[in-house]
Symmetry: C2
Subunit: 325 residues, 2 copies
Amino acid sequence: MYKLSIDAMSGDLGSSIVVDACLSFIKSHDDVELYVTGKPEELEKLNVEHIHIVEARDTIPMDAGIMSVRRKKDSSMVKAVTLANEGTTDGVVSCGSTGAFYTSAMLFMKRIEGIEKSCLMAILPTYNEKGVMLLDVGANAENTPEQLHDFALMGHVYAKYMRGITSPQIALLNIGSESKKGDEVHQKAYQLLAQDESIHFIGNIEGRDILDGDADVVVSDGFSGNIALKCCEGTAITLMKLMKESLMTSLKSKIGALFVKDSLYALKDRFDYKSVGGALMMGFIKPVVKAHGASDAKAFGNAMELAYQMVKNDVVGKLKEGLKG
Amino acid sequence: MYKLSIDAMSGDLGSSIVVDACLSFIKSHDDVELYVTGKPEELEKLNVEHIHIVEARDTIPMDAGIMSVRRKKDSSMVKAVTLANEGTTDGVVSCGSTGAFYTSAMLFMKRIEGIEKSCLMAILPTYNEKGVMLLDVGANAENTPEQLHDFALMGHVYAKYMRGITSPQIALLNIGSESKKGDEVHQKAYQLLAQDESIHFIGNIEGRDILDGDADVVVSDGFSGNIALKCCEGTAITLMKLMKESLMTSLKSKIGALFVKDSLYALKDRFDYKSVGGALMMGFIKPVVKAHGASDAKAFGNAMELAYQMVKNDVVGKLKEGLKG
């Protein structure tokens, strides 16, 4: 049986969507046991086979400062993380705040041996519909070349075993294509990536080309990766708003809008960074999956499915092997 | 008389568009003299009052490596820069490659005293139509807190005297809003900006919010500024392409497209990073203005107008005063 710990309490929408997601997940997966942390009185519906309720009376609210995590050892979030760290479960899912959840993992879960820094990974929509993985998107404010190399290995393993890409194309986010571009950290990272024969390094990539989808994995330091992610997100949001408004400017465009709205809505959904979903936390000894804060039961279920697949495909084990090779 | 040096030879489209732009500029500005560098046999139409032809037999092609600039002292670009540096002219315009033009300025023009590093500035379209200035967008691969402070001063002066913003709102590009966010460089830059009472510092800004237009000037190190600019650009290009395609997916959307295309084209023009135009090179003792490589005569004329306004408004002098204060 695969075992997941589930933080039932930390989301914006309360525990009921998590309860629904858990019940429906257990129904469709007969090889899974869930350890759900939270207030038992809110989780009574979960008194069913294959679900264990783990009492946690404290909650980390969405707007909590990340430093408060330290004092919240009895919270549903920290308990869920701890269960995975101790080996009671094989992975952990929460829809709490990204900062608090990442901090919980940093404080209460070990890193994979050989990985100096954990990181956050996001998957961005691309022109060619393949999507592109970007990491680190902000767990670190600065990184060494060796850490960037670790990010590449983590991206490689995830792309290969979770996204089924046989030989993932890995690029380094930089300010020009030549190997000598960027600061010393990125120049040295370029060399490390180019020398590693276990990955398929395709060179530097500029911000302009990330969404083309030619690279499967884009490696970046946490500072510029965060800025890259948020600039893509901000531009998409701005353009979609303006597009909507521009269709309302004249009678003619309003008429046209009736015909084109389905097509444009589909595009909007694709570039909706909310639905792009939770960032993944990479580098820990167990899969740590964040569902979006405003998750409904379906979105939470998707996050559980992702954690389940990561456990089943032994992504962490594959990464350990890769680090040895 | 205000005097501008004009590089006639370095653009993709040859000297003829520059010749046209010069003739038309002289007609509409009776307080300007032009010093046009290039091959006299291509510039014969410029034998008119207020235009001086300065022979330069060499050309720096658009695809030239920036290192080749060093060996191209007889090029139209370097000569145009040198004329401004020596004081023969008050500013310089070229539509050559950004890299080569910036390198020419670095090598052959002095920096303003008190400015440690020159930089590249771009103006991005925003939701609120005001536009936002972003600097540095890639002249430097890394910067010190003091250099970021200089960028803020340059942005402040430009916004105030060229864009007519009485008290420009200045933000620091970072990975979170709190003053302690980011690496040491950005934390220290935050302090410097917050302490400087001559500017209106509004705090950190995240990538997601740049295009809102709440900040007039966004200050960044060259590395993350370059990534920010190019991610915004790449996302806009990708979305516009997908929008166009999505309107062609069904008969219904094709019909609608006939009605909405004017509105959407207007939006596309606004976010066309080509028409956003040349980056400005800041920190030199004379205005250095780059027209877009594929400029037509009109675009080149706009770049000349910008240089002329910078000279007339004495942007460099204002900056020197600001540095003293």
